[in-house]
Amino acid sequence: MASVFSRNKSKWFFAAVFVVLFVLSSRAVEVNLFKLYENSGRLVDYIGRMWPPNFKILPKVFEQTLQTIQLAFVSTVIAAILSVPFGFLGASNVMKTKVEKWIASATRFSLNANRAIDAIIVATFFVSAVGLGPFAGVLALSIHSVGMLGKMFFETVEGVDKGPVEALESSGASRLQVLRWAILPQALPYFASHTLLRFELNIRGAVVLGIVGAGGIGFLVTEYSRLFQYQNLSMVLVTILALVMGIDAVSGYTRRRLL
């Protein structure tokens, strides 16, 4: 037994550190399962009041759902267009000279910084400029999405088959021609696939931004919660579930067809 412990000393040490960190963190964020158990009746009561969903508000919910889809769609298209240049500027197989490598590093740093700041935080900046509403949401989601899409795009560009690049360079084609005809056609299906994935994420993002004032179906969550209209709220939640699952299914199918 002692020999087993000494053989795996470092593993036991890391396991102990992990457990201590977990316990301390749980205490810091007031995790209390007993409290949850003690008050579970309230939770059941809350969910009980949500049943049955109120189908009479469906026209209004659909109208707001459409706005959420439009918000996500416009944001994703803007983000994809902005991300294409980043996809090339960040790619090490495109940016080869010393100055270009520096530009690539700066591009990657910018995209990392962008990803570090959530869309809700970005939205607070734009609300100060354009006020509450879907436009602030579009701006926030567009800018935030560039961080992820730009990274996915430059990784795609770096992963293309080098053969056609060598072939076009060997025929005397210029760098722009090589980018256009050897790299872009190979990368484009992946760009489209990543953009669809981002659209899926932006649907969820648009719902959350709606909760904090960007309009759409998320706004209804806030409205019905504040007014204690639980059956209306459950109708909204069911619609969000159907929306997200539907978009995921359609987007997933399309992405599989693209690649």
């Binding site: 088959d161 053969g163 360079e169 025929s171 722009l176 021609q177 050897a182 190979q186």
Partner: protein, 249 residues
């Protein structure tokens, strides 16, 4: 007049590997030269040195009157536009059509804006279609390359090189991914273009019999050195031993 003249050329990779050693090699217009040797002998490096994909480190290297040891990017593009290169793995853009891929061979001859928009002059499109017909792919012009067989893909790659109207064609083991029957078809195509259009052809081959059958001259390489140069009939047992180190029985 020679199309290619190498004198005492050495090529050392940045990692220190001495890939070409004291290469003395010249080629006359219209020749069909086969380069033979074992894997790692320097055959591919030699071809890539000719179109300056890899830079020679010392010696005198001239191709089509360009001095390879001293040339700017503009000259390099001009030189490469006059040299067609055929690759072992075809190097085609697989999700584009055969015609699109062949038209890539005209990029250096088309204005930048037109080329970026894919607006090739009608004469270039006609040329590409004619060359595809010449390689037996007139029914496959609009097919995506990934829907074509290996032999058809290599013919698209040959058409892409030929459509440049090059003075030299370099082919790096163009049949390595093909079966023996298709290999003969591909070599026959190269020979036809060599004879009918006067395109000087230098081809790396790993099948000795094909080199002897098709080439007008054979160059043998071993460990970065040229150890044989002569007509196919001059390839004696001793010469083969010097190229293959006794690997051929």
């Amino acid at each position: 007049m020679t199309v290619l003249n190498f004198k005492g050329v050495d090529l050392v990779y940045p990692n220190g590997f001495h890939a070409l050693k004291d290469i003395n090699f010249s080629v006359e217009p219209g020749e069909f030269v086969a380069v033979i040797g074992r894997s790692g002998a320097g055959k591919s490096t030699l071809l890539r040195a000719i179109n300056r994909t890899i830079e020679c480190t010392s010696g005198k290297a001239e191709v089509l009157d360009f001095n390879l040891m001293k040339m700017g990017s503009g000259d390099l593009r001009q030189l490469r536009a006059r040299i067609g290169f055929i690759f072992q793995q075809f190097n085609l853009v697989k999700n584009l059509t055969a015609l699109d891929n062949v038209l890539h061979g005209r990029l250096a001859h088309v204005g930048l804006l037109r080329s970026l928009l894919g607006l090739y002059p009608a004469v270039d499109v006609k040329l590409a279609q004619d060359v595809l017909k010449a390689v037996g792919l007139d029914g496959k012009m609009k097919s995506r390359v990934d829907a074509l067989s290996g032999g058809q893909q290599q013919r698209v790659a040959i058409a892409r090189a030929v459509v440049q109207n090059p003075e030299i064609i370099l082919a790096d083991e163009p049949m390595a991914s093909l079966d023996p029957k298709l290999s003969e078809v591909v070599l026959q195509l190269l020979l036809n273009f060599n004879r009918e259009r006067g395109m000087t052809t230098i081809v790396n081959l790993h099948v000795l019999e094909l080199a002897q059958k098709y080439a007008t001259r054979i160059v043998g390489m071993r460990e970065g050195k040229m150890v044989f140069e002569g007509k196919p009939k001059d390839l004696s047992r001793g010469a083969l031993d010097s190229i293959y180190e006794g690997a051929v029985s």
